[in-house]
Amino acid sequence: MDMRVSVDLELKDTPGQLLLALEPISRYGGNVISIIHLREEEKLRSGRVPVHFTIDVPDEASLERIINELEEQGVRVTKLGEVTKKERITLLMIGHVVDTDLRDTIDRINELEGVMVSDLSLAMPHPDKESSAIVDIEVSQGVDRRRVMERIYSIAKEKNLEIVRSLEV
């Protein structure tokens, strides 16, 4: 599984420096997600140009190789941090969503590590009728989505809710 990292570099202000930095990233299986080049704004006193990269790397070892190589080439690595990737699960709940204690439903989903209900819209046609909620759940990288769904289905069974999940989950 890929890890996503943010890397702040300082490049020499000469042509070809960006390419020089990109080369080891791709050689060790990294994938550049974004590059923010702060050229105009703040050229450093050292004459270097700060660049902010977000990259996906296959694992810790390849990240280490990339950093070593960059430094060998005279690129300064000033900051390194892991970015946790978030995936989203969207699903509908149909049933007595409110009467079966919506607060409790959300709490029990949030209880799972790296899992958080981030958005919820509710439709209540009539107090006696079944209501519906569409829910967004943020799931951190590395969390097994199937386990999240298992938890949701067990809550749903207990509260007699129908779950309609999106295709890719």
């Binding site: 149909i94 046609p125 129908e162 309609v164 295709l167």
Partner: protein, 338 residues
Amino acid sequence: MRVQIIGFGVIGQGLAEVLLRKREELKQRYSLEVKVVSITDISGTAYAEEGLDLEKALSVARQTRAIVNYPGAKEMTGIEAIEEIDADLVIEATPSNIKTGEPGLSHMLAGFKAGKHVVTSNKGPLALKYKELVTEAARNNVEFRFEASVGGAMPVINLARETLSGDKITAIEGILNGTTNYILSRMTREGLSFEQVLKEAQELGYAETDPTYDIEGIDTASKLVILANAIMGIDATFSDVKTRGITRITPEAIRLAKERGYVIKLIGEVRNNHLEVSPRLIPETHPLNVDGALNVAMLHCDVAGEITVVGKGAGAIETQSAILSDIIAIWKKRGAGQ
């Protein structure tokens, strides 16, 4: 080619009609002359060594609803017809039964035993005893094809097994039941309740008087089992499918989904040896978002990537596209009397 039709309802009669219509074309394009030597329904069997008059058979069936009224017909059962009448191929088109697979299961097995190829639109026996049927056909060195059993006119089994024969299919998702797709599409467009639309569909003849098979996902599950076996080589049967239907879908749920750019569809999915039928959220822009009574299947292929086919999932005439393609494939492979 000498053909026997067992089950002369919507599909059996549709075949007779298309065979009449395409008689010359089949001769010219494939040198194929299809002689229907017997037709059996619950009332008995019409039989003619030199081939039945299909126009007469159709008019008898339509007027009297019993083929036994065809001149010279006998009170002979399907099994007897298969065992006693000389033919190359059996078309099995009796009602699908997902509890016992009968009478189709016995008809198919009798066909194999008699050394006859079998083409069927009947999903029940396949969903229950896929492996046994395929094994028996092979043991008797006959062809067994069933494109029409999944998705009516929509070509999916032959597409995956023949055209995509260099690919490995790693997952399949699809809408395999036209009735539920019609109901959900209408609920979405008109904001009507499930009960209202179901009633309307029954009045229009789109849904059966007993709609359980469709709305509870049973029909979709049967077809999914056939796809899992035939395309992905998974030894699954009907009881392996986790099945939920669409009876609890409400107009409000559909509206909430729509506000987020989703539609709700009853999807059959095979992935990682897991077979599931359930209502799912599909992005509006996704290829599986097809409307009305259409069927759709998306094949995830290891070389081709995603391949999606859309087509009419039922229909007296449309389904004959699948049945004809099976008959022609057997003809090309085996020729007459082999």
